[in-house]
């Protein structure tokens, strides 16, 4: 025992001595004092993480792109027939807005997307609950939805036109299908994944079936539902664009389709900007609601 202690202390002394020796050498070689042997001085490690985020950093890229676009247009590097200048697009936007074309088309498009989304959302939730909470519901619904999922919804357009005519109904139906599938799938998966330990807890605490669903099943499935909701929102815009550009007589997509025929690239760009705003606003809204509703999760991520 004593021997081993002696050995250790001897080794440590030796290593200290050699370290000091090395430090001395460095100092003399460099000619400047180096804080190698200085006691208590801790040098910070090189940081490998990207560090703190810049303010409004997400906007930097888009703004730069806009500036490049403006600069290229101002110096006439871009063919105005193909890519009109940003201010031309703005002017066209204002003109279309004031003459009433744009508000009408936006309203028509919003109504379609909104109606389809509302139906899809309701159907997605209702089917997921029915299938997730009862074995009979699962047997009836789950396989059917999985089958529906395997068929690309936009491939149903010809059939739906034959069934429902080329009016609003078929457009809303297609959007509803595009929306309900991701909402159903994610909500159902979340319901099926409810921790059985919580089910046991509910039994011990004597919860009624209704309170069990309200206090354990629904909150437990909400994170999955929100994943589906965001996919559904994106899907509703996607469906809208496709539907309005191939067979519509009004709406934002129709406006763009007409502009293509007359070679009005500025009008097409106005339409794209509006679609972009729709997508951004709706996604932000869903994210905002998600943050509010799932506030208990924030403590997990800090």
């Amino acid at each position: 025992m004593t021997t081993s202690v002696d050995i250790t202390s001897a080794t440590s002394t030796a290593s200290t001595a050699s370290a000091e020796h090395a430090a001395g050498t460095t100092e003399s070689a460099a000619g400047t004092p180096v804080a190698v042997g200085a006691a208590g001085q801790v040098r910070r490690r090189r940081r490998l993480s990207p560090g703190r985020r810049l303010p409004a950093s997400r906007l930097v890229g888009p703004l730069l792109l806009l500036a490049l676009w403006a600069a290229a247009s101002a110096t006439e590097r871009l063919d105005p027939a193909a890519v009109p200048a940003p201010w031309t697009v703005l002017e066209t936007g204002v003109r279309l807005w004031t003459d009433g074309t744009l508000p009408t088309d936006i309203l028509t498009s919003l109504r379609r997307a909104g109606a389809g989304f509302a139906i899809g959302l309701t159907a997605g939730i209702a089917l997921a609950l029915a299938s997730g909470l009862s074995r009979a519901g699962e047997a009836l619904i789950d396989g059917t939805v999985q089958l529906n999922r395997a068929i690309p919804t936009l491939g149903l357009i010809p059939l739906f036109i034959l069934w429902l005519g080329i009016g609003e109904t078929f457009k809303i139906a297609i959007i509803a299908i595009v929306v309900y599938i991701p909402i159903y799938l994610n909500t159902h998966a979340a319901l099926a994944g409810i921790d059985t330990r919580f089910v046991e807890l509910a039994e011990v605490q004597g919860l009624s079936r209704f309170r069990f669903i309200r206090e354990i099943v629904v909150p437990g499935a909400l994170p999955g539902f929100f994943v589906g909701l965001r996919l559904g929102v994106t899907g509703s815009w996607l469906g809208l664009v496709v539907l309005e550009q191939i067979n519509a007589t009004n709406g934002l997509g129709y406006l763009m389709f007409q502009a293509q025929n007359y070679g009005q690239s500025d009008v097409i760009l106005v339409g794209l900007v509006v679609y972009g705003i729709f997508g951004l606003v709706s996604d932000s809204a869903v994210r905002f609601i998600e943050r509010k509703v799932l506030s208990w999760r924030r403590t997990l991520s800090g």
Partner: protein, 292 residues
């Protein structure tokens, strides 16, 4: 205290007929998984207000017994008579707090009365944490909250399935004191399932050993509370319990030497060589002096 009185008056009429009211009564309780009997004809009476610990190796069926009493064994084949009180609370090994409800709302799950919830939280030392989220609590605090949740229902029977098994040793000692203190104030019957001999001895007034689906030793622990882990007289109980669990194969061997009276805090009874041997040497079950 209020709870205690309330319960006594509510059951006062029944209590006059029998001197010692029975909270839990098991008669020939049998439970089996895939044809293998995990509980093999258990007869057990737990008088109202008694603190019972149920010891056993892992796989001895002690959790199955607890789940049967709790009424949680839906798809388990079995037979036998089983009576338990109306108000039963269960504390699990994990705190099982719902992460999307604040601590107070977790305590009140399935019941009403915010004031009762606050009082229960204060009783377990979590005053001021009512608005906290469960994932902001430490393991010990979460288990305290789980105790508060079980208390708020004013249980006649408290079932605890290795409630301190996931806690560190120091927290566990504090929780032992808390549980005993809560029991003294509210006097529910307690069935504490554990594999920790010292935990059983320090907390319970009666220790049962479950082996191979049958109750073996039924031992009353007649020592005043609060008990010290270092009480040498508890060593005798420990030895008898360890013998019943088959851990005293060699009196001079490592197992015995590793468990001197009062030394290890919360020494778990793991699978040992002795367990295998005791099966062959099993004599008539030892019965304690004062339990029928």
């Amino acid at each position: 205290m209020a709870t205690h009185t309330e319960r006594l008056t509510a059951t006062g009429a029944a209590a006059t007929t029998t001197a010692e009211r029975t909270a839990v009564r098991l008669r020939g309780l049998t439970r089996s998984f895939e044809g293998r009997a995990v509980l093999d004809g258990i007869d057990l009476d737990i008088p109202a207000g008694q603190f019972v610990a149920l010891l056993g190796h892992s796989g001895s069926g002690k959790s199955t017994l607890l789940r049967a009493v709790a009424g949680l064994d839906h798809e388990v084949a079995g037979s036998g008579g089983l009576t338990a009180p109306q108000r039963v609370s269960v504390v699990f090994q994990d705190s099982r707090l719902l992460p999307w409800r604040r601590v107070l709302d977790n305590v009140l799950l399935g019941t009403e009365g915010e004031e009762k919830g606050r009082a229960a939280l204060a009783e377990v030392g979590l005053k001021g944490r009512e608005r906290a989220w469960p994932n902001e609590l430490s393991g010990g605090e979460a288990q305290r909250a789980a105790l508060a949740r079980s208390l708020v229902r004013e249980p006649e029977l408290l079932l605890a399935d290795e409630p301190f098994g996931a806690l560190d040793a120091l927290t566990r000692i504090r929780m032992h004191a808390l549980l005993r203190e809560l029991w003294e104030r509210h006097r529910p019957s307690v069935l504490l399932v554990t594999h920790d001999v010292d935990e059983a001895i320090v907390l319970a007034d009666r220790v049962l050993v479950l082996e191979h689906g049958r109750l073996g030793l039924d031992l009353a622990i007649d020592r005043p509370h609060p008990r010290s882990y270092r009480d040498p007289l508890l060593g005798e109980y420990r030895e008898r319990l360890l013998a019943a669990l088959g851990v005293t194969e060699d009196p001079e061997g490592a197992v015995e030497a590793g468990l001197p009276a009062g030394a290890p805090l919360g020494a778990p009874v793991g699978p040992t060589v002795g367990a295998e041997l005791s099966r062959d040497r099993k004599g008539p079950p030892v019965t304690s002096k004062d339990h029928r």
